[in-house]
Symmetry: C2
Subunit: 230 residues, 2 copies
DNA sequence: ATCACTACTGCCAGAAACTGGCAGCATGCC
DNA sequence: GGCATGCTGCCAGTTTCTGGCAGTAGTGAT
């Protein structure tokens, strides 16, 4: 196996373990010696991988995606830039910052002439709806979805009446003027949609909900009879 | 210089020349022998770079962006996926296909577990406005903007009266329900915005307009007094 | 047809890089 | 202290890379 291929394998192996892994284990799984492993880790860190090693514990890969060298066409990069600009205009602060960061990372590794063409890409996104402010931090919602945790919310429905409930969030829908949490509602024992501008309180819990996110998403789609989004 | 670094340099060198470059020149610029260059080219092609070699001419790199290994955080990849999904819903067919292709390319190089998490990413985009069909192919518009060529159009303004004109397109704005070409209008001798759903005819020309795209964009922004989009 | 130029491949010996083992030091936990 | 682990320097053996050479083939100009 080539060295570069092995480096990517190393990352994948580290990701499989969620807990710290010792260098010895990593070396055995990839079939190399400990000494070489240390050198490989150093190489990966030099290339920007977020690997942390602690004596007595092992290695941890900070969550993230390592992409090998990749070729995009002009139109594909236009699409990525335009899409990121749209996300950057969304009211979700963490996410819009992430969109800008991703663009900057891409631009940073491009040669000068191409960086300029990304910066001045001619595809613009219309002004976002500034009035559509969410009552809560959507970053918490996305985190709860990623980790399959229940959310404790207070919601004001269409009639103006308030209620508190535990929900199992599994998707977040972005519409022109609002965002909607799609979740299983423990109060109603059914799927429910919650407009983020009608949430008056949102608290993340540590309680894992008992189904897989993908399963809930599929059941919800079946119930809605809507098409796949891709 | 390490081999991997040299491979990226090769791509950048090829991009500097717009015309075909002979292997001899490339080898001299990167400081390696011809024999090694042929091996490097083969390696790059195996990694997906679109390099074409023709006997008697030289090598050409098909337009596109080669990204070196790159690390994204979870939130950044969520932003890229969400943005690409939004672009995929736009009425511009070529661009929405490009967005899907870019996503697939990213997914293809990820290990299995992460590919799944991209496929089932929980951030959805609301249904696009199906009624908003453009009268023309926006791919032509984007191409004209990229290459700084004049467009010959027939436009029906707000009052319903039709007119044909030559314009210098330099930006394309994406709004919730419509898309707008931003251009210098030869007829009015001023900046004008053209809603794509009001175009009844659009023809690309080979005539290059006499200003740089970036300059026009900057002058237009100054005239509008609008903020930078990033 | 001929020539010049180029892409491309196989072969091989020397150069460079990689690898694994060893020894040693530092850090954190029990 | 004892243990597990990260991390570094050194060195010899192995692997890979590299450059030169010879040869084949495609293209365009003359």
């Amino acid at each position: 196996m080539s060295r570069s291929q092995r480096l990517l394998d190393l990352i994948q192996t580290m990701r499989r373990y969620r807990r710290p892994v010792s260098g010895k284990v990593l070396a055995e799984e990839t079939g190399i010696s400990i000494r070489t492993l240390y050198r490989d880790i150093a190489t990966l860190q030099a290339q920007g991988a977020h690997i942390e090693g602690e004596p007595g514990l092992g290695y941890v890969l900070r969550p993230g995606f390592m992409l090998p060298p990749l070729m995009f066409t002009e139109e594909e990069i236009e699409a990525l830039v335009l899409g990121s600009r749209w996300v950057a205009k969304q009211p979700d602060n963490r996410l819009s910052t992430a969109a800008r960061d991703a663009l900057n990372k891409i631009a940073a590794v491009l040669p000068d002439d191409l960086r300029e063409s990304v910066d001045t890409s001619a595809l613009l996104v219309g002004p976002g709806d500034g009035s559509a402010t969410d009552g809560v931090d959507l970053a918490d919602v996305r985190k709860a979805i990623r980790n399959e945790r229940k959310l404790d919310i207070t919601y004001r429905d269409g009639n103006g009446s308030q209620s508190s409930r535990l929900i199992w969030p599994f998707a977040l829908g972005f519409f022109d003027k609002m965002r909607v949490i799609v979740a299983w509602c423990e109060l109603r024992q059914d799927f429910r949609h919650f407009r983020t501008d009608r949430l008056s309180r949102l608290e993340a819990t540590d309680i894992r909900y008992p189904k897989r996110r993908q399963v809930l998403l599929q059941e919800w789609r079946d119930a809605q009879g809507i098409a796949q989004p891709r």
